[in-house]
């Protein structure tokens, strides 16, 4: 904004009052505050105050008495934490399994969406329809609708008379399980480590969830791929690089910064839909155990933030920035 300062300068020695008034830079910084003011107020009221209150609630027993117009806090020290970790039947298991699922899902979602984005990036007839279809899961991803869809997903297979469906289902699953077992046996005999196989089979079983969870990521990756200058590909072609080499030497490094954005989005998204937050929600608003619910949500949030920082730091070290 240097040019702006110069423009304004000739006006300044007009009157004496000008000296007291703010300089242009100060004025602009005031305007800047004015622009972000609504958000700043909201952030302080809802987020800062909310986080402080949540931390406070974890150390207290909270009872709401609308008659008196408010709530009362009885300090109980670390009781809620001790209860959550030592007594509560589900919390620890749910927390561990949620985090485990998240760590398994995130790489799968990232690679799947990058792969799909590369397929959708090329021009082919009907591309816009296919892109629309791939964004559908984001539209359909409402809790209420999702639950109903899962109920009705069996509707697809033939007659829906209960018995017929059940028979078809059991027959179908037996069939699938058989061929899966056969394949797995084959790969084990080939000497592929069992842990890797477990991961792959888990991924295949969850393909439905993974597709559902990667709508936004695919859109983001398409955008990232569009922003790679085509001259880089031309150079790679002239130098005689194969498609495989082009991917690892050009495409992958260039989308690396966007992988960070996507990883952050995916982790946050899968955390928001995890079981542990459902547990926190139910404990707080259904069982009305406010202190314990606060402990659940606080602990899981802290753990997620730590994971985020570690993962982002890990990727950032290996990221190549073009500009």
């Amino acid at each position: 904004m240097d040019s702006l300062k110069q423009l304004k300068k000739p006006k300044e020695p007009g009157s004496k009052k000008e000296k007291k008034s703010l300089t242009l830079l100060q004025k602009r910084s005031m305007t800047g505050y004015l622009f972000i003011l609504p958000w700043l107020v909201g952030f302080l009221i809802f987020y800062v105050r909310g986080l402080i209150q949540t931390i406070e609630f974890t150390f207290c027993n909270l009872t709401i008495n609308p008659a008196a117009g408010g709530y009362t806090l009885t300090p109980v020290g670390f009781d809620n934490y001790i209860y959550a970790f030592r007594v509560h039947a589900q919390f620890k298991q749910t927390l561990v399994s949620s985090i485990g699922n998240m760590l398994v899902d995130v790489p799968l979602i990232i690679f799947f969406s990058l792969f799909m984005a590369m397929l959708l990036n090329k021009d082919f007839p009907g591309r816009s329809i296919v892109r629309a279809i791939f964004f559908l899961p984001v539209i359909l991803n409402s809790n209420a609708i999702q639950a109903a869809i899962e109920l009705s997903s069996t509707m697809m297979n033939g007659g829906v008379a209960t018995q017929a469906t059940e028979m078809a289902q059991s027959a179908g699953s037996a069939n699938v399980a058989f061929s899966m077992d056969y394949l797995i046996d084959m790969f084990v005999n080939l000497g592929i480590p069992a842990s890797l196989l477990d991961y792959v089979t888990a991924a295949v079983e969850r393909i439905n969830d993974i597709i559902k969870a990667s709508g936004v990521q695919i859109v983001l990756f398409i955008a990232a791929l569009q922003s790679i200058p085509s001259s880089l590909y031309e150079v790679a072609k002239i130098e005689g690089a194969t498609g495989y080499e082009t991917f690892w030497k050009v495409t992958f490094p260039m989308v690396m910064p966007h992988i960070i954005t996507n990883v952050v989005y995916t982790i946050v998204d899968s955390f928001t839909q995890s079981d542990v937050l459902d547990l926190a929600y139910n404990t707080t608003l259904t069982e009305l155990n406010y202190g314990l619910g606060s402990v659940f949500s606080l602990i899981s949030t802290v753990i997620t933030c730590v994971i985020l920082v570690v993962v982002v730091g890990f990727i950032q070290k290996r990221t190549f920035y073009y500009n």
Partner: protein, 320 residues
């Protein structure tokens, strides 16, 4: 035949033929993957449509596959009545769209403020925006519930009414939060706008300044119009996520008459109680019809904005 022998004898010809074969195979695999994944996404939708139009004879006919023999719209007629569809969807769309407009204005303003002005603690404050994206609203839900259950800013309400205001069951909390830039995923929208405005050339604003436009005039009449790709991106995201949101709707106990996705979850029991349809299979059919009706407007909006949306994401700087 001569062509084939030439193909196998001449190395160059052979290479070309192999390349063509490879291309065909690659295209085939690509199409197969796209069709397969597309089918996984679309199949529940097809299943729902099929089950919602099928008659009770079809539903018990094991020979029926995808195409029902006696399709009918009777399920839809009843669901339209029980959901009070047009009234509810109208109210819901009004609620969703008005919140989206507020989101657009507030978030673009804040994003612009962060992108173009220098003030103290700017990087710290922007880190707070990122915190807002990362910290899920679950963490602060109890505080939010209490804040709006006993709404009493600076003791003003107690001063006027003698007691605090209970806002549960109304839509006011959502409007207040969105106005203060803390609505559904506001942090993400602020981030998108900030990235986009940072990418715009400064010369536009300097030209406007030289021509005598004030900061606010420049922002509303020039910058916001230039930010159309971001505006469309945020509009689509905001409409979809606001419409689908049940977390805030449950937290603030917003009435079913405004949030139709809450109504859909009780539809089966309403049908069971009022129309004495106790067969679970039939109930599912009605639920499916209800879901189709509920997602219809959102899909229509998306189809209309789809092209601009994808192009908008590509240019809106959402990817950094």
């Amino acid at each position: 035949m001569a062509k084939f022998t030439k193909m196998f004898s001449d190395p160059l010809e052979r290479k070309i033929a192999l390349n063509q074969l490879k291309n065909i195979l690659v295209t085939f695999v690509k199409v197969a993957i796209l069709v397969g994944v597309g089918y996984v996404i679309v199949s529940p939708l097809i299943g729902m449509i099929v089950s919602s139009v099928a008659s009770s004879e079809d539903i018990y006919n094991p020979m029926m596959y995808v195409l029902p023999q006696h399709p009918g719209t009777d399920k839809y007629e009843l669901v339209l009545k029980r959901l009070d569809y047009f009234k509810t969807i109208g109210a819901d769309l009004l609620y969703t769209c008005s919140l989206t407009v507020i989101q657009l204005f507030v978030c673009s303003m804040v994003g612009y403020g962060f992108a173009r002005f220098n003030f103290r603690f700017k990087s710290l404050l922007f880190a707070c925006v990122v915190v807002m994206i990362v910290v899920p609203s679950y963490t602060i839900m109890l505080s939010l519930r209490l804040t709006f259950q006993q709404f009493d800013p600076f003791g003003l309400m107690t001063l006027i009414n003698g007691k605090s205001l209970n806002m549960m069951g109304t839509v006011t909390p959502m409007y207040i939060m969105t106005l203060l830039g803390c609505g559904v995923k506001s942090g993400l929208y602020i981030y998108i706008f900030n990235q986009f405005f940072r990418g715009l050339p400064k010369e536009i604003e300097e030209a406007a300044f030289v021509d005598g436009a004030g900061v606010w005039y420049t922002y509303f009449r020039i910058m916001l119009l230039n930010a159309m790709p971001s505006v469309i991106t945020v509009t689509v995201f905001s409409i979809v996520w606001q419409f689908n949101d049940t977390f805030y709707a449950n937290l603030f106990m917003i009435s079913e008459k405004v949030v139709i996705s809450k109504k859909i979850s009780t539809l089966a029991s309403v049908i069971a109680n009022q129309d004495k349809i106790l067969n679970v299979t039939f109930q599912k059919q009605y639920t499916n019809a209800g879901i189709i009706l509920v997602i219809m407007p959102i899909i229509l909006i998306y189809v209309v904005l789809q092209k601009q949306f994808i192009e908008g994401v590509e240019r809106s700087g959402i990817v950094g």
